[in-house]
């Protein structure tokens, strides 16, 4: 399971960065989304995957007796998902506006900021 997830995370990072390096704005957004998902899965993976052992201490004990599913990574992922939801919707609106004003989808043609003025 860990190996499989590790490969998946690697694939998501690689494809995300590949997409960001393309020139199209839409592919840029897809790349950002893939990269964000890769990071979230990485947190999940590095929080150690434990199945069926909720983080509840038995009544007659004061510490955990065996490995337990860590709830913190899930909280982190949830926060990260909410944040990336906001960022991605902003990205989509930004790209839409940029396309309307600049009339191109090609990042290479967006060079008004480098003009000498």
């Amino acid at each position: 399971m860990e190996i499989l997830l590790a490969i998946l995370v690697g694939l998501l990072y690689a494809s995300g960065i590949y997409m960001i390096l393309r020139r199209s704005l839409v592919k840029l957004i897809i790349g950002i989304i893939l990269l964000g998902n890769g990071a979230n899965l990485l947190i999940f993976l590095l929080g150690r995957i434990t199945k069926g052992l909720p983080p509840i201490i038995p009544e007659n004990s004061k510490v955990f007796l065996e490995a337990y599913a860590d709830p913190v990574p899930q909280a982190l992922i949830l926060t990260a998902i909410v944040i990336s939801f906001g960022l991605q919707s902003f990205a989509i609106i930004l790209v839409k506006r940029a396309h309307k004003v600049v009339r191109t989808d090609d990042l290479d043609e967006m060079n008004a900021t480098d003009e000498d003025s």
Binding site: L78, V82, S89, I92, I93, K96
Partner: protein, 137 residues
Amino acid sequence: MKTIILRTASNYLLPVLLLFSIFILLRGHYLPGGGFVGGLIAAIAFVLHSFANGLKNTKSLLRFHPGFLMPAGLALSFFSGLSPIIFAGDPFMTGLWYHGHVPVLGSVGSALFFDMGVYLVVVGVTLTIIFTISEAP
């Protein structure tokens, strides 16, 4: 997407989904659910309504701009986070609980109001985003 089936169904689905979103909001303290998911479901209810009946009708149904929900929700969350400082002298965001049984809700505390604030903010933000995207030509 102006089929008669969807339009009829959406009229009935809107109140049901809103009720469901509040259910999800209230069960969130100990079970899966909470303000964020509840808010998304409520937003989806309105989005579905706008798909079937057009954006204009949904907006007139809402009466006010959904963006107004953002400051209202933020203020609610802010003051529920602030309440422990004011009332108990505890750090920001400490849970204050009413130790008695309240029917339907179970237990009432500052966390509940915080979640309600989150609910309102999420509905406001999501609807603003989606209305903005679908409005522009």
